[in-house]
């Protein structure tokens, strides 16, 4: 089965080509139907590969063919199946199928409906191809392709200026990270002579990664951090997280698929994929842990006060990605991936439920909603499941994965990170239930919008229900119930125990975590459901903190002041150099030719006899040269 894993990425590619051939006028049902069926087939293939690996852990394999030979080095293309890859394939194809189905309802009657599905198919192909890449170069190619698809889909409604700006911003900010990744890949190639993971890891773990200007240990750390810079750009880690909230300008299914479940998880996947390199350099791992921790807290703090429902969930995504990075950073490889797995489901669920709400009331402002629970029963319940999962309430999926990470921070001795994680967990429970109560409970704050609110058709509710079920049970894949199947599965990639540690369950900690989550939920209920505590008064009393959070710690402004201004300054200097120095030279050359032409035109008298005289004397001179200088005509 494993040798057919290439079908998983290729099926969406077939879909993409087919939709391209159908053109922009194709019927919605046909477009969505073909896409859903192909992605579902891709999901079945992924599932088959996943289970085949589970049954026989040693059938992992690399299938490549020679692409280029550069001197002594060669570059291959192909695909590779490991336990990590198989898990990612399942997550990506599962969420894609559901999002494809949901989009049928959400994008109904959009003018560019077929184009939307084309982009989505291209994205799913790129993402899956990224996951199964056997070497860093191929990964980088598809890494850029998912970035491109993200850009296209954020800017899908390009006629909205904010969407066009957000698309540009996401592209440029992730590009900053990609530069780091690219430098890292080149350094790894130069020092190990290959793009292949196995060769690179072999060199890194045995200390053979070396260049003349740097010690092997430093080089390992440097490349690890550079790779992490790329991962941070893609996974919206501090300080490169600013693009993700703006990316919410795209259609909501895009936010669910790309900016919650899959593409942003590519950074986490990359760190997991390159884990032996990070383990070889403890420093790089510490950087990952701390950046992840800071991101988790920062995202949660900002999410507390946002008014836009999608932005709250976007900051929540940033925060949860921070958790995953932190998990990887403290050595809990399996737990980071476990959280990626559960998060993909419950965050896609939250986004799709939010999309269902937005579809119904046509606003994203939390304070224009309220009381929607009565009209949208399914959306309310599924959102509640997602929220409980995100908050980490027993026994929802998020509880198991988040608690594993928190447990790992504690047991590996990262006390500060442990407290950061607990504070962030409290904020998480609070902000997501703030959204829940503001949206579904209380009195409608905008009657006109409420009036036409209604539940979507089955294509929208079925994915919600499936995801809600997954948000409930996904955590059970890694519990005592199945003898921690997922972590055993993932750890099978490296029997030597090179890739991180696992820890036994810590029941007192679980109780603490659930209590923290429940206190957060309770506080949210007291403020937004049964308003015992006035949110306005609290905001006024803590106005400094409130404004800090509401204005996203002024990071956008700081970036605008520092990065954008510096960029503009450099661009200005380069522009001046280009315009007034390089162009001057070019213009002078042009002017020279022009002047020559103008001068010589006066010789064109049109008098044949004049021409002949000149030709005659010219021949004479040539003959004279031939006779006296060269020594004869013949």
């Amino acid at each position: 089965m494993v040798e057919y894993a290439w079908l998983a990425p290729v099926l969406p590619l077939v879909g993409y080509v087919f939709l391209l051939a159908l053109g922009r006028r194709a019927a919605e049902g046909l477009v969505a139907g073909v896409s859903v069926i192909l992605t579902f087939l891709s999901f079945l293939v992924s599932l088959a590969v996943f289970t085949a690996l589970g049954a026989h852990p040693d059938v992992t394999g690399t299938y490549t063919m020679r692409w280029l030979t550069l001197g002594a080095h060669s570059i291959d293309v192909g695909f590779q199946v490991t336990h990590l890859n198989a898990l990612m394939l399942v997550v990506v194809s599962a969420v894609s199928t559901l999002v494809f189905l949901f989009s049928k309802g959400y994008m109904h009657k959009d003018e560019r409906f077929p184009v939307f599905y084309q982009y989505l198919n291209l994205f799913v192909f790129s993402m899956m191809a990224l996951v199964v890449s056997p070497n860093l170069l191929q990964l980088y190619i598809f890494w850029e392709m998912v970035g491109l698809c993200s850009y296209l889909l954020i800017g899908f409604w390009y006629f909205k200026p904010e969407a066009a700006l957000a698309a540009k911003k996401s592209f440029i900010v992730t590009r900053l990270g990609d530069v780091g990744l690219f430098i890292g890949i080149i350094l790894l190639f130069l020092s190990s002579g290959s793009f292949d993971y196995s060769t690179v890891f072999q060199a890194a773990t045995t200390g053979h990664l070396g260049l003349s200007w740097i010690t092997p240990a430093d080089l390992t750390t440097l490349t690890g951090i550079l790779v992490f810079v790329g991962a941070a750009g893609k996974s919206a880690q501090f300080p490169l997280h600013v693009w993700l909230p703006d990316a919410m300008e795209g259609p909501t299914p895009v936010s669910a698929l790309i900016h919650a479940a899959t593409m942003v998880a590519a950074g986490v996947y990359l760190v997991a994929r390159m884990y032996p390199l990070f383990v070889a350099s403890g420093t790089a791992l510490t950087v990952v842990a701390w950046v992840g921790g800071i991101t988790a807290l920062l995202g949660a703090l900002i999410a507390l006060t946002q008014r836009d429902i999608k932005r709250v969930i976007a900051y929540s995504t940033i925060s949860q990605l921070g958790y995953m990075m932190m998990g990887l950073g403290v050595g809990a490889y399996a737990y980071g991936m476990f959280h990626l797995f559960t998060h993909a489901f419950f965050k896609a669920l939250l986004f799709l439920a939010a999309g269902s709400v937005i579809h119904a009331v046509d606003t994203q402002d939390l304070f224009e909603m309220g009381g929607l629970g009565k009209k949208m029963r399914i959306t309310q319940w599924t959102f509640l499941f997602g929220a409980l999962s995100l908050s980490g309430v027993f026994p929802w999926a998020g509880f198991w994965s988040k608690d594993s990470i928190i447990n790992a921070t504690l047991q590996s001795g990262h006390m500060t990170l442990f407290w950061i994680a607990e504070i962030a967990a409290f904020c998480t429970a609070f902000y997501i239930f703030r959204v829940y109560f503001l949206t579904f409970h209380g009195k409608p704050r905008d009657e006109s919008k409420m009036a036409h609110a209604h539940e979507g058709s089955w294509v929208m509710t079925v994915p919600l229900i499936i995801l809600a079920v997954m948000a409930f049970i996904a955590g059970l894949f890694n519990t005592g119930l199945n003898n921690f199947g997922l972590q055993r599965y993932l750890m099978a990639d490296s029997p030597t125990g090179l890739i991180g540690k696992v820890y036994p369950d810590n029941v007192p900690l679980m109780i603490i975590s659930v209590t923290v989550a429940l206190v957060g939920i309770g506080l949210a209920a007291l403020m937004y459901w049964k308003p015992v505590i006035s949110a306005e008064k609290l905001a006024r009393n803590l106005s400094g903190l409130y404004r800090l959070s509401f204005n996203k710690f002024y990071l956008d402004e700081i970036y605008y002041g520092v990065v954008v201004w510096t960029g503009k300054l450099i661009a200005g200097i380069v522009d001046f150099f280009d315009r007034y120095i390089l162009d001057l030279i070019v213009r002078m050359l042009g002017r020279l030719g022009y002047m020559g032409g103008v001068g010589l035109k006066y010789t064109q008298t049109g008098q044949v006899q004049t021409y002949s005289v000149i030709a005659f004397f010219g021949i004479m001179i040539l003959l004279a040269i031939a006779m006296f200088h060269v020594g004869g005509v013949f």
């Binding site: 035109k601 006066y602 064109q604 008298t605 049109g606 008098q607 044949v608 006899q609 002949s612 005289v613």
Partner: protein, 111 residues
Amino acid sequence: MTGLGGPLFPIPTGSLLALGALLFCIGLFGALTRKNLIIVLVSIELMLNAANINLVTFSRLGVNPSLSGQVFSLFTITVAAAEIAVGLALLLAIFRLRRSSEVQDLNVHKW
């Protein structure tokens, strides 16, 4: 140094070449300086004939003197006749168009 059948008047080769050169120079001068197109055409004929004289003269020389030079000059005369016919036809056409046969007036290629 005799041609086929021997010379009627034994003119030295140098004189013949000098005649050719002289004719050529006169023709060239005429072609470059005369204002009337007909005279220019006549001058061109002069240059052609100078070349013919050279051809005939050189046919006397060489290890194997032969008639080929003279035959060649006959061809040249034929071609020249055709050429002058075309030339005169062009001249007539130009004259009809511009009411002038002055070389200076033919300056449509002036900048």
